[in-house]
């Protein structure tokens, strides 16, 4: 055991001193393979090259290209001409950008409302002696694994203004429901509800895992001090769960800014309300591949990058204020 540890400590490639074991000295061959600086020769090239090739070709270089494209205009038959900051100027005065930013923020905010719900469900699932938890986890997690475009189809029926089951249920309590997916405003709420429904399971799973890491002794101690269950939840569960809540929040916000699939599938092509309901990614898709204005679309992509970067940075900055690391 000690000799193996010695070898690993001597990773610089220097042959390990044969402390009391002459047998080791007999086969120093493989150990000396590392060069004087400790490099592993050509092997890492074999291991890393395929991934580096794909990453550079399909990701890194395209990022640089998109940055360049955002300063160009695309001709009808290909070819780009440099137009300076014209795309960005056009974007700044485009009312669609503001609409898309607000819609994306509203969607993200509504989906974030799922986190307190998930916290509640996770704490119910982690009650001592709770049974059928595997069954409940399957129920709540199913929307997360289901194909968004496929579940959007049934939500379109549920939200239908004329014969949807939601408006029928609202009618029972005397509310005359709108044509959800084709009325501006309501359409965004409908998309957000489906988004919340989809992402709830993920939050529950992460928060459940977080709850498991809270040592039960803390609850024992709290109850010995006479803390009520509510007080225990507030003073033990909530602070110790904040790292998990932070993680879920960051992921939810990043995913929220990527809203596209649900919006596209739920509203369908040719929906009159799409312009008022579009998200940032939809705006990008529309300009890049439907209107074929790729220079302008590249500028939108850069703006999305900027916004997502800024929001994520802000979240990590604010982390200190509310996240407790034990």
């Amino acid at each position: 055991m000690t000799s193996v540890d010695d070898i690993s400590r001597a990773r610089g490639g220097v042959a390990p001193p044969a402390r009391g074991s002459t047998a080791r000295r007999a086969s120093p061959g493989p150990v000396v393979r590392r060069s004087r600086r400790g490099y592993d020769g050509w092997w890492p090239v074999l291991f890393v090259l395929p991934t580096m090739f794909g990453v550079v070709l399909f990701y890194l270089w395209p990022i640089v290209q998109t940055g360049y494209f955002s300063f160009t205009e695309w001709g009808a038959f290909g070819g780009q001409t440099w137009v300076g900051t014209e795309n960005y100027a056009r974007l700044a005065s485009d009312p669609d950008l503001g609409t898309a930013v607000v819609n994306t923020l509203v969607y993200t905010a509504i989906v974030l409302l799922g986190i307190p719900i998930a916290m509640f469900v996770a704490s119910l699932l982690s009650r001592p002696g709770m049974r059928f938890t595997a069954f409940y986890r399957v129920l709540y997690f199913m929307p997360y694994v289901a194909m968004p475009t496929a579940v959007a189809m049934v939500w379109r029926l549920i939200f239908n203004g004329d014969f949807g089951v939601l408006n029928w249920a609202l009618g029972l309590v005397g509310i005359d429901g709108p044509a959800w997916t084709s009325t501006p405003g309501f359409a965004l709420v409908a998309v957000s509800i489906v988004g919340l429904w989809t992402s709830l399971g993920f939050a529950i799973i992460i928060l459940s895992a977080g709850l498991k890491t809270i040592p039960p002794e803390l609850y024992e101690a709290a109850s010995l001090d006479g803390a009520t269950p509510w007080r225990q939840f507030r003073s033990v569960t909530v602070p110790l769960l904040t790292p998990s809540v932070f993680f879920v929040t960051v992921i939810t916000v990043i995913n929220g800014f990527q809203l596209f699939d649900l919006l596209y599938a739920l509203m369908g092509q040719g929906n009159p309300a799409i312009q008022e309901t579009q998200s940032l990614v939809y705006l990008f898709y529309n300009e890049a591949f439907l209107r074929n204005d790729k220079g302008f679309a590249a500028a939108i992509a850069m703006v999305i990058l900027l916004i997502v970067g800024a929001v994520t940075l802000l979240q990590f900055r604010m982390q200190r204020r509310w996240v407790t690391y034990a």
């Binding site: 061959g29 592993d40 986890r137 496929a150 579940v151 596209y264 599938a265 898709y285």
Partner: protein
């Protein structure tokens, strides 16, 4: 039940205090079940509704008040899926891109992750930083050039074109690197002493240990490949060369009134993944939680 309560509470200094608390908690799980079941009904209702409408007639779907049980089940809606959509072709595309991306990522990400975690070579830090920098970049930023590459290769409307960029993954590389970092040095060094070359060490010693991480990467890649919409929509324009996610969305755009066939197609499209999930739910959930928390 009191026995377990006592054994659980035994390590506590004052064994008497926690017992009644635990007892009362057990007693009040009934309302927790009521709440969880009520929420569960809301979560599952869309799936049930989808199944029911896929077996109804269009007249029943559009009737007010809604018909909850279709009576005579219209299995013919499922047969119609195959005549109204190129369903089998789309299914085949979905399977192909999912397999290609998953196998590709498992091989490439585990190798690169291993090298970044455990090998030393010039520019290691720079290359790693380059790979990880992609993690923060939204996909729209590289979508247009990716489209140009695929289109330039003549790969539009092909499985290769849809699958290609997704075979490489910065996230997968990061996930595998995190795993390999945690393996103790001793195993690797012992194998090296026995004369194994780095590839043998990787394939025979390290990979077998990586089962749970490889499983998590498989789950994430399969889910994403099967369900992803934006990229397939961009590089495939013909219905028969789209994966199901894009096929369903564009079919719905073409025909807005054929609700029952649309529902049947949607059920068939998500059934494979949902069945896999229900069968392997523990591994899927643990895999996602595990990779998420890393």
């Amino acid at each position: 039940m009191p026995d377990t309560a006592l054994t659980v509470a035994a390590p506590a200094a004052a064994a008497t205090a926690p017992v009644p608390r635990r007892g009362s908690r057990h007693g009040s799980n009934a309302w927790a079940h009521v709440l969880l079941a009520a929420g569960g009904v809301v979560m599952v209702f869309p799936f049930v509704w989808q199944l029911l409408t896929s077996l109804s007639t269009n007249a029943q779907v559009m009737s007010v008040p809604p018909v909850f049980w279709p009576g005579e089940l219209q299995w013919g809606n499922y047969a119609e899926v195959f005549s109204k959509l190129p369903f089998l072709q789309e299914f085949w595309v979905s399977v192909s891109i999912t397999v290609a991306r998953t196998v590709g990522q498992l091989v490439l990400c585990s190798m690169a992750g291993y090298a970044f975690a455990r090998m030393r070579f010039p520019l290691r830090g720079v290359l790693l930083a380059l790979v990880l920098s992609i993690l923060m970049v939204p996909s729209q930023v590289y979508l247009i050039p990716q489209y140009q590459i695929v289109s330039g290769l003549g790969w539009l409307n092909t499985v290769a074109g849809i699958a290609a960029p997704g075979i490489f993954s910065a996230f997968g590389t990061f996930l595998m690197m995190q795993f390999f970092k945690g393996v103790p040095d001793s195993l690797e060094e012992a194998a090296r002493l026995d004369g194994a070359n780095p590839f043998q060490v990787f394939a025979r010693i390290m990979l077998p240990l990586a089962g749970p991480s490889l499983g998590a990467l498989t789950i994430i890649t399969v889910l994403w490949s099967w369900n992803d919409l934006l990229w397939p929509l961009v590089v495939s324009t013909r219905a028969e060369s789209m994966p199901l996610a894009a096929g369903i969305a564009t079919f719905a755009g073409r025909t807005t009134t054929d609700y029952t066939v649309m529902m049947a197609a949607s059920v068939l499209a998500m059934a494979p993944i949902l069945l896999l999930f229900v069968v392997m739910q523990r591994r899927v959930i643990d895999g996602l939680a595990h990779s998420g928390l890393k």
